[in-house]
Symmetry: C2
Subunit: 408 residues, 2 copies
């Protein structure tokens, strides 16, 4: 990730329709009371597709269908997404409903169903109101303006408080290549579990095998490095569509600018992952944990995620409490190789632990630092060359309220 | 656990000095502001000892010392415990201080130091005020009355809201054998992680090897089957002292009443484990999850613990929300063998999921059930003969408050 990328720029529009040939829309079809609840992404031409999906053994119907589509077809031209209902634990009817969403979208666009992905997010265990969805698909019209992308970004939210968009451009083979992404995070409009959906669009030309490998590797260090409450949902999905309209030479690891594309792809994924962490249910702060000196990168990342997932660390950050004892305790129960007498810990720029023992620091200064909306925790284990990062959020009264009081 | 035990009775006194030859005390020595903070358990004669200790790689100094004592000596006659300071992450000075507590207690009782166990609970990373501890050990006098046991039970608490005591008697070889236990749970008087300490006393005669094996097996299905917030502390300890003064024939698996003793030992451990779960920080309810039909007992127990540890299940129980979607989701991400289409779930006596799909139930009736202080969740996976139980508590505003606001 240290490679210099020429002409990299973050696009102010942050729009998934910024890459050539993509359009989108978001409308209200009636699954939620008032808010937008149906979105669509369309590519002018069939795009190379890659996807990663939840590891939960209970998988929502649309996820099962879309996973199969990605794996068997390797091309996708449109994605239809509803919020307000996860279409999970809905049995055979759920599969029928997801297939019908796929078919209706294909018919509308005049393409084959195996070019359409389907995603859902919302309450578990309720049948989809298919009359609403059917009318919505008939009504929705994708466009390539910024407002269309914003409508889409809004239509996939549940209790997220903000939209999550990002976009970058670089030059590859003298052509402008754009990579853009949109996501929804942890929230619920019906009492339910957090569901993470992300969609990445790019006009880059790239082989499917390479795109899938890149997505998997990038997901491990971005989307899989965040945690809000440790509950892995039934619907988690990341899909990438690469339609090739930038007309660069097809990207593979042999391409001289492969490293630059990887860097941009990583930036888009990391931006979205951090936005999801920061907007975790009830969160007031983003927590970023960096671990160096692990035996391997995997162990360093696991320790970082253990720290950022500890309810005691999360409540301490919420309460602006410089409680490093909870950080070292989490390192201890991470299950990784450590030497208790060789641990260094720093919160912000303030060192608090050296050789596993407390050192003097200004409590007042650190309490002030913890009032920031982004809090950084750093640990060095001095065991090897492994490094890793993870992101999460504080644990607050509002998390309890959001998840306890919905139907009471 | 189905064996009938003759003449089993729960003792109303619930006292760790109920078994013959045990005495105890609890006093205030000055580590806390006002409350009792130093406790002692003494056996008239050296007792067979067994112990299980935290799996956290960061281990508190007294735990390291006591673990070594248990493993090398196999006998123990006294345990000295302080609350208010965990003596963890305190380096060489911490080890010196733990050894000094051991030596002072041995000198006072006129026994060798390797017959004394040491435990601490409280804030991490601060040196013990040894002048207070030394004066406390000089002053503390163990007695065998109920009030002495109560003083002890109070002296080991941190933010626990109630004492945790239990005691049973049975007849073995025509002799009355008593097994009693005391514990502290999840709490902190300084901002810190939960620390679980349990001490079990019995006048049974039993070999050390058998006692250690029994403690390990019982801990797996009792103390290790509870969770409050998923943070494994640096100080977790369970110690059993068996002084043999009941004069039964030494217990081994070959003894005709071995099964009865196992049953009573299990009851004592389970009582304490449930009390700890119920008194978890901020908790208003005990949650008991039973899982049948797992591939193995281990998998059933792991699934039960995953359900009871899910923040979304915990907040739903707090909010009296019959949100079975969160239960099935937790089953899905438990990492165990399941068939999504073959899951049965019941909350209280109300079936909510059959064959992995929702069934009709009275929302009102279930919401009323969830107002109880003890909530039972049952799942049958229909995969095999494995069964398991786990206990936890709801996640409330008070959990966040206790852990966020201490020093702010």
């Amino acid at each position: 990730m240290t490679q210099v990328v020429e002409k990299l720029k973050r696009l102010a529009s942050e729009s998934i329709v910024a890459p050539k040939g993509f359009s989108a829309a978001g409308i209200h079809c009636g699954l939620k009371h008032k808010k937008k609840d149906l979105g669509i992404i369309v590519s002018e031409v069939p795009a190379t597709v890659a996807g990663v999906f939840t590891t939960n053994a209970i998988k929502a119907a649309p996820l099962v269908l879309t996973k199969e589509t990605v794996y068997t077809n390797e091309k996708m031209q449109a994605i239809i997404i509803n919020s307000g209902n996860a279409n999970a634990c809905t049995g055979k009817q759920g599969i029928e409903d997801a297939k019908k969403m796929q078919q209706l979208t294909a018919d509308k666009l005049g393409i084959t169903p195996n070019l359409v992905g389907v995603s859902s997010t919302g309450v578990i265990g309720e049948k989809l109101k298919m009359d609403k969805v059917e009318a919505g698909i008939a009504a929705i019209e994708a466009g390539n303006k910024l407002e269309n992308a914003i409508d889409f970004a809004q239509a996939i939210l549940t209790t997220d408080t903000v939209m999550k968009n990002t976009a970058y451009s670089i030059e590859i083979d003298g052509k402008e290549v754009v990579v853009a992404g949109v996501a929804k995070g942890s929230g619920m409009i019906e009492p339910n579990m957090a569901t993470m959906l992300s969609f990445i669009t790019t006009d880059a030309a790239i082989e499917q095998k390479e795109l899938q490998a890149l997505l998997k590797a990038t997901t491990d260090i971005t989307f899989n490095a965040i945690t809000v409450d440790g509950d892995t949902s039934t619907n988690d999905t990341v899909l990438v569509l690469a339609n090739g309209l930038a007309q660069n030479n097809p990207l593979t690891p042999a391409h001289p600018q492969w490293g630059e594309f990887v860097k941009v792809f990583h930036l888009v994924s990391q931006d979205l992952a951090k936005m999801i962490a920061k907007d975790g249910e009830g969160a007031t702060k983003l927590i970023e944990v960096t671990v160096d000196g692990g035996v391997t990168d995997e162990e360093a990342r696991k320790i970082a995620k253990t720290i950022v997932g500890s309810p005691l660390v999360k409540t301490a950050v919420f309460g602006c409490d410089a409680n490093w004892g909870r950080v070292i305790c989490a390192i201890g129960y991470s299950g990784c190789t450590i030497d208790p007498t060789n641990i260094f810990i720093k919160i912000g720029e303030t060192a608090v632990v050296e050789n596993g023992e407390p050192i003097d620091f200004s409590e007042e200064q650190l309490t002030n630092y913890l009032k920031n909306h982004e809090v950084k925790i750093y640990a060095n284990l001095h065991q090897g060359e492994g490094s890793g990062k993870a992101w999460g959020c504080d644990l607050t009264y509002d998390y309890v309220q959001i998840n306890a009081t919905y139907r009471s």
